[in-house]
Amino acid sequence: MIIARRIRWLGGALLVLLMALILMPFASMFTTALHQSGTYPNGLDWPSQPQWGNFGAAFQAANMGAIFSSSVLIVVAVVPVSVMIATMAGFALGQLRIRGGQLVFLLFLLGLTLPFEGVIVPIYYEIRSMGLLNTRWAIILPLTGLYMPFGIFWMRAHFMTVPHELSEAARVDGANTWQLFWRVHVPLARPALSSLGILMAVWTWNQFLLPIVLVDDPLERTMAGALGAFQGQWGTDIPLLSAGSLLILAPTIVIFVVFQRHFVTALLQGSLKG
């Protein structure tokens, strides 16, 4: 028993060490952010006079308020619509079992592991010909399309597990297809829907390739895209860059901690099903 306890203690210590390694880059960024702006501090070094004002300065320099509301706008435009149309399609493919559905599903599966780099060049010319370059629509519209494979995969898997008898009973009670969907199946799908929504929100917030290719103005981008521009502009001022980066990643961390359980299950099921 004593040996067993010692092993448990050792296992715990190893895990703590691992956590320290994982958190180390964040810690280094944090201590660096507190140094005098424009200096080159050491990687992990608590300053004698912490410059908390750096966070305010970075907020100003990056125009964080505008970036934040831009990102929120993009998320709000992408996520509800994507979740809605993916759910409708998933319902048709998983529950209504429409004729030719298997073929349509295969078509969507094709996009499941597609690297965005594979289609970014034509998307650029397509968005340009639509006259939408440098607007938020240039991020919103393609993302909605790019999220369909996963969204449909996810929702179809959910609707496959709902017993058919439920639909039949609703039909006998006189429900048409839309009522069947909206009144019966959507309320039951709420857990799957919210997981999908959280995933898409985080992916959108963190999306980088689309903003840097399609939108020049950082203030019209997502958080991650704006951070790229911020690095380009302030890359030599390490404390300011660290402070700005921390501000930009703070919202995702807060959302993660709040929705933690949801999040982990969503991502796990997401990758398991994928």
Binding site: I22, R97, I98, G118, E126, F263, S271
Partner: protein, 317 residues
């Protein structure tokens, strides 16, 4: 890959139950038509912003085009360039080298950490570790790139620790050194993906029947034998998922490299994703960029399909 629950058409039911059920059948048939209306919005979005661009990528790859002047048909010339130009070949090679870091380290280390969490460490620490390990998966890759550029820089934590341990001689700007830049980028990817793999594997381990371990212990099996005979086969599907996700991440790496090295020094960390971006939007070689994009997409499929086939086949039976 696609799991279908057994679904035989239910039309044979209630054929003799009179007009009410006939009306029901009509509605079910209507529903199948209406069903297409449900698929239509998603199909439109997907068609316009994925399928159509996909076709265009294939089309562009057969032309020489600077994005402005009329395009010139060149057949497969762009593909010949992809497989003969040393810069492009080395970009493809780097993508495969990154697999070692993006997939190899997270899966192997993930197995060790998952075992530790599941069987050895105190429960409460394991729960906290799950959350912490998952954190890199949530923050933007761009932020990870910025943080790690700083950690791996000349005055960063890595060199600080090395100097403190008396290895001052090996300190360097890890991302700026031709020999270490690619492995350094790989370490960043491993840091991001380790948590996802670990948590996936822990979840898989908790589904393995504990009775299997008990009987193995009665048979006198050691820890290693237990791991090889019970844990590893039981995790087949989860390992498959880890490998799939991480291989795709390695082959299509972009954000981390764009932020930390921009493909440098020289071309030491150039990867296909970044190359496509530069060729298309800076060198104005849209055709060549598209050919590389086609090659990248085919490579992803060629790597993924065998993994799916190997890891799903028996677990579904």
């Amino acid at each position: 890959m696609i799991r279908t629950t057994t679904s035989s058409p239910r039309e044979d039911r209630g054929t003799s139950r009179g007009s009410a059920s006939r009306a029901l059948q009509v509605r079910v048939r209507d529903a199948r038509l209406h069903g297409w209306l449900f698929v239509l919005p998603a199909l439109t979005a997907y068609g316009v912003f994925v399928l159509w661009p996909l076709i265009q990528t294939f089309k562009y790859s057969l032309y020489q085009w600077d994005g402005v002047a009329p395009a010139q048909w060149t057949g497969l010339d762009n593909f010949k360039t992809v497989f003969s130009d040393p810069d492009l070949i080395s970009a493809l090679e780097h993508a495969f080298q990154l697999i070692v870091f993006f997939s190899g380290i997270p899966v192997i280390l993930g197995l060790a950490v998952a075992t530790l969490m599941q069987r050895l460490a105190p429960r409460r620490i394991s729960a906290v570790a799950r959350t912490v390990l998952f954190l890199p998966q949530v923050v933007p890759l761009v932020a990870a790139g910025i943080a790690w550029s700083w950690v791996l820089s000349m005055s960063g934590v890595v060199n600080q620790v090395l100097s403190a341990l008396g290895f001052g001689g090996v300190t360097r700007a890890w991302l700026g050194d031709f020999g270490t830049a690619l492995p350094a980028v790989g370490v960043i990817g491993a840091w991001v993906l380790l948590g996802l793999c670990t948590v996936l594997l822990v979840t898989g381990m908790s589904k393995i029947d504990p009775a299997l371990y008990e009987s193995a212990q009665i048979d006198g099996a050691g820890a290693l034998r237990e791991f090889l005979a019970i844990t590893l086969p039981g995790l087949r599907q989860e390992i498959g998922v880890c490998v799939t996700v991480t291989v795709v991440a390695a082959l299509s790496a972009f954000d981390i490299i764009y932020i930390s090295t921009r493909g440098g020094p020289g071309n030491a960390t150039m990867v296909p994703g970044l190359m496509i971006y530069q060729l298309a939007f800076f060198n104005r070689e849209v055709g060549l960029a598209s050919a590389l994009a086609v090659v990248l997409m085919v490579l992803v499929l060629v790597c993924i399909l065998p993994i799916q086939w190997l890891t799903r086949k028996t677990s579904d039976a």
